[in-house]
């Protein structure tokens, strides 16, 4: 199904690892996100930025893995932040009462300025 596609694009900007999520994060694809983020943390990345700007759809499964990864990052003395939490996606964060559970920056540029 094309509408269940998730793509994860990874890049570096200076010392910051950027993980850009595009498409859908639901029960079937959430674990891919967790594996990706866990790998970064265990590889020793100290600043991870998850860019949600390309997300079309997410469920609580996405929140769960982001919460778990945030905890893992803290235990690894790393920082994990989100950016581009906008539109429908932002509304879902609000409904879940989750805006305060994460470090959220506006644009990718703002986030990189804070994390670098």
């Amino acid at each position: 199904m094309s509408n269940s596609a998730l793509s994860i694009e990874q890049s570096h900007s200076g010392m910051v690892r950027i993980v850009a999520l595009k498409g859908r994060v639901d029960s079937t694809s959430a674990n891919d996100v967790l594996v990706c983020l866990s790998n970064q943390i265990s590889a020793g990345e100290k600043a991870i930025l998850v860019d949600l700007g390309g997300l079309m759809y997410l469920t609580s499964a996405a929140f769960r893995v982001l919460l778990i990864a945030t905890d893992e990052a803290e235990r690894g003395a790393a920082r994990l932040a989100l950016c581009n939490v906008i539109g429908h996606v932002r509304e879902l964060f609000e409904m879940g009462g989750l805006l305060d559970a994460f470090t959220i920056h506006g644009s990718r540029e703002e986030a990189l300025a804070q994390l670098s």
Binding site: N3, S4, S27, S60, L67, G96
Partner: protein, 159 residues
Amino acid sequence: MLSREGGNIGSMPQPAAQSVEIVIRNELAELAKLSDGLERIGAELGVPGKPLMQLQVALDEIASNVINYGWSDGGNHEFCVRIRGQQGRIEVEIVDGGREFDPRQAPPSEPQPAGRRRPGGLGIHMVKQLVDRLDYERVGGRNRTVMTKRYVSDGRSSS
């Protein structure tokens, strides 16, 4: 008399009530069938994107809950989702023979202390926010969960 001619039933393509019944197995990959069914009905009725997505998230939450927690025997099971749409309202009914679970009674998600951010009941908490009405009954050894979402048609056919 003339003014009544256009009012004959069947002579005008009124957006009729739409409904579909989907039976899926207890595997997460099956959830896509529900999304497809809901999207099709949403498109036929011209439901705007926002309420349609909210209902889809809610359906994903309830159905994945059934798949993940409904049966503990590791076996193959099926359950049924009926989606009924009419102007201004979509109703989604999930009937499963899994473990008794009343989503209305699910504990609210509570703020977690730092370092322990794994929320319980988050998905169900979201469902309550996402739909206008959440009904539940246990009948004949089955859970029957019904979510109702109202929408204001934007007057255009939504793609």
